[in-house]
């Protein structure tokens, strides 16, 4: 068994400087112990604080004398010691989450005492399960423990694209509360606004829009702003406080925007004395400490039920595959977090599990036994892919579809190859199709998106970096978002597209999106299995796409 883990030997001045990737063999099971395989583990801002030695709880587990970070995640039970079976708590196949802080989830396998694991419903989506402890729980407790809130009250929160804030919005809805979500200024604000509103935010406003509105502006509109949730501190936190109504509560639960504590937040006499606003801090460990382990477990179980019933939506997260290179991604992520410039993304240690499985619901059609036309279509590409084998079940549609598909990468398109890739990868991301992403990521790499950072940004939909992405890329990304989110591209965006891309490319974006969204829906529905690695894939792709690569290079040189 090849197990691996991230671990750090000492607290660093940057989160990743002492973080190492280790291979190890899980120890044999002792009395009451369980072997788990991690499915997904998030990189939370709290984890970054642990690496910097600024979180109150230290990791409890070590490997090669180094501490294993990661306090949240979801795993499947692989095997259990016979003693565990007799007391009936856990059995192989159960979906589990940690019951304590400090369990150390940034690893593929762990041997843990059974009481550190809580079984949750197997129906809970892994992306919610992975953040139950550090994302969902704080969101719930912020509304439950910190202030008395009544239906119709309003909450104002910053870092609103962060995972905790996303769940705050959802719990607020359950409790009849309204939310004002403050996000930092950004280019793709309309896209984010639409997305957060679709997840239940009543008002989405940027930092500068908020500041322009002036103090107590929402209160003047008759809203009772009874709770401010500040994850940023500094100016952003102070701006939230100015909007609070009398008797409201300001809660800080993070200082991402002011990690050195240099700015602080400003409290006026008016806020403290006239309005009697209370200012205090939220500590997850403290709130959990007021509950028994049984109460905590019941709470988590209930969150799982809410997720299964659809009351909690899958958070807006970005997922990456577990490998040695996640250290670089964690570094990028933590830089964003520490700069206070991004709270949106979380890296999961896997986009579900990339393990090659055998759980497809329709047969894979084999070229050798298929009718000649189907067999020819299956050989369109110089390598085998499970997706084509599935599509081939529709014998009549499949051959002409493959021809249509091949037009998507035809070098004669108006759309440039990199633009075609943005269309495909954004479609895969928004429709949650890791398989589609995996198939196309190598293509994107040979077509110019050649670093993890660029791909990371495409994955999370942040194309604001002008060195990596063109205005056309950004516009295409917006079109895809609107198509997935609203089923229609807005008229304004369409007019912009016709202007910037031209008639042909505008239509090409929508057709390619149509083709790849169909593929994404098919592969997810049929429960496609990941392809085994294809030897020499990159060379094959370079050869196959030689013309496109050349054209893209020329076009890039002209930019």
């Amino acid at each position: 068994m090849s197990a691996s883990a991230l671990a750090f030997d000492k607290v660093g001045s940057t989160p990743t400087e002492n973080l190492h990737f280790h291979h190890f063999d899980p120890p044999d099971l002792q009395h009451n112990e369980v072997l788990i395989e991690m499915i997904a583990a998030p990189v939370n801002p709290q984890d970054i604080m642990v690496l910097l030695g600024r979180y109150p709880v230290s990791p409890s587990f070590k490997i090669y004398e180094e501490s294993i970070p990661g306090y949240d995640g979801v795993a499947r039970v692989a095997s259990v010691h016979p003693s565990v079976l007799t007391n009936g708590t856990l059995k192989p196949g159960d979906l589990v989450i940690p019951t304590r802080h400090g369990v150390g989830t940034w690893r593929t396998h762990a041997v843990l005492p059974a009481n550190l694991l809580l079984k949750i419903s197997p129906e809970v989506d892994c992306r919610i399960a992975a953040v139950l402890r550090m994302g969902v729980t704080p969101a719930y407790l912020l509304l439950e423990d910190m202030a008395v809130l009544r239906p119709g009250d309003w909450i104002i929160q910053n870092a609103a694209s962060g995972v905790i804030a996303q769940f705050v919005t959802q719990f607020a809805q359950i409790r009849g509360l309204h939310t004002i979500s403050v996000v930092r200024d950004r280019e793709d604000i309309e896209q984010l606004r639409a997305e957060l509103q679709s997840r239940g935010a009543d008002i989405v406003i940027t930092q500068s829009e908020l500041e322009a509105k002036g103090a107590a502006s929402f209160e003047k509109e008759g809203k009772r702003i009874m709770l401010a949730l500040d994850a940023v501190f500094g100016h952003s936190g102070s701006a939230l406080a100015t909007q609070l109504s009398p008797d409201a509560t300001y809660i800080n639960y993070g200082s991402l925007g002011d990690p050195q504590g240099t700015v602080g937040i400003q409290i006026t006499q008016q806020q403290l004395f006239w309005k009697q606003i209370t200012f205090k801090n939220f500590r997850l460990t403290q709130c959990l400490g007021m509950r028994s382990q049984a109460q905590i477990n019941d709470m988590m179980t209930w969150f799982g039920e809410l997720a299964v019933k659809g009351f909690l939506q899958i958070p807006r997260v970005e997922t990456v595959q577990w490998s040695e290179s996640v250290i670089d991604l964690i570094r990028l992520q933590s830089e964003d977090i520490l700069r206070g410039s991004k709270f949106t993304s979380k890296i999961m240690a896997s986009w579900d599990n990339r393990e090659v499985t055998n759980r497809h619901l329709l047969p894979y059609v084999d070229a050798e036994s298929a009718p000649p036309e189907v067999a020819a279509a299956l050989n369109t590409l110089p390598f085998q892919r499970n997706i084509f084998k599935l599509l081939a079940n529709a014998q009549v549609n499949f051959p002409p579809f493959m021809k249509l598909l091949a037009t998507c990468w035809n070098p004669d398109l108006s759309l440039r190859s990199s633009e075609y890739q943005v269309t495909v990868l954004r479609t895969a991301s928004l429709l949650d199709a890791p398989y589609e992403w995996d198939v196309n990521e190598p293509v994107a790499r040979v077509l110019g998106f050649d670093t993890d950072e660029k791909l990371h940004l495409i994955r999370i939909g942040d194309l604001s970096n002008t060195q990596f992405f063109t205005p056309r890329h950004r516009l295409i990304s917006q079109m895809v978002f609107q198509l997935v989110h609203d089923n229609v591209v807005s008229e304004a965006t369409m007019r912009q597209a016709i202007e910037l891309l031209g008639n042909a490319a505008t239509m090409e974006v929508m057709m390619i999106h149509g083709v790849y969204s169909m593929l994404a829906r098919i592969m997810n529905s049929v429960r496609i299995d990941f392809d085994p690695p294809i030897p020499g894939l990159e060379d094959k792709l370079r050869k196959y796409n030689a013309v496109a690569i050349q054209k893209e290079k020329e076009a890039a040189a002209q930019d």
């Binding site: 504590g261 009697q276 200012f279 403290q286």
Partner: protein
Amino acid sequence: MPQLPTLRASNRSIAALPRALAPRHGPLTCRRFKSGPYGYTQAKALVYSKYGEPADVLSLHTHSISPSLPSNSLLLRALATPINPADINQIQGVYPAKPPFTSLLGTSEPSAVGGNEGCFEVASVGASVKSVSKGDWIIMKHTGFGTWRTHTLAEESDVLKVNKEGLTPIQVGTVSVNPCTAYRMLKDFEDIREGQWFIQNGANSGVGRAAIQLGKQWGLKSINIIRDRPDPAATEAMKKELLELGATKVVTESELMDKGFADQVKEWTNGGREKVKIGLNCVGGKPTSALVKCLSPSGHLVTYGGMSKQPLQLPTAALIFKDLKFSGFWVSRWSDANPDEKRRMVYEILEMTRLGMFKDVPVQQLTWDWSTEESVLKDAVQGTLGGFRAGKGVFVYGDT
């Protein structure tokens, strides 16, 4: 020149009139104003019709009160009513509680009467009044009544009867704002126990002195911050006075701002083992930030005023790593929401006063007689604002 004698005669009669009337009508004129014809009570009140500096906006208004009282009403005569800083802020329009301007007193513009607490004597009662009778002392249940007045009508439900046995009007008249504020702030925000500490600025204020004494009764230790006096001897005298009152430690603002002060606090608190759980703040700005640094983890800063009007800058460390809490308190709001607890608390503090466990706050008495001029009263109010004063201003009513 036939007119001349007439003129002279007229002159003579005018000059003669005051002399002729003086012995009989002089005092009579006053008496008539005070009790009025047909038993009307003549009352005076310091009123304001718009917000501003007290010297600019206050005026002395005279009105009369009918002898036929509504059945549930009382006629009250003021005995002692203090001038609190919050009263001034209220007149300036910079205090959260704003009394309504009304035309009830017959002022040309709708107006409010200044002052928020005081001790009154019941002069007469309406037919259905049961709980108080003539000669009783009362205080107002709620702030915002307007107490800088010689006489007033009040409803039975507005007043709280006080057992005057062993008490002075000033003791009774100053109980509901400052001591009650100190009491609530020490009781309601944190579970502070015997042997634990609180720290406060404005320690020489009415609230500060009350907190020192209540703290002493309850076994709490206190760090008390006073402003540096220009004369070091005066500073020392002030320290001595507060220590005698029950303060554990008294330091000046400049000592507080000194770099080594945190270590000093650590030494006093047995290496930090005795918690400094509550900070009482009426200042704001940098000195308050310095005070915040002395609070133990999970401590609570309670703000009840802000003389310096400076905002408070909260460092990340204070909120996040020390888990401090910050709240505001104004007693009038609390009193309105908790009438029963307020009554119980007032009686408790007055009982402590009777037993000599709660010393009088130093006062500057201002006698308010019928003949006291408007300017004298206004100066008294305005004077409350500036510099170092020997004591709280209190109107003590004489011959009204």
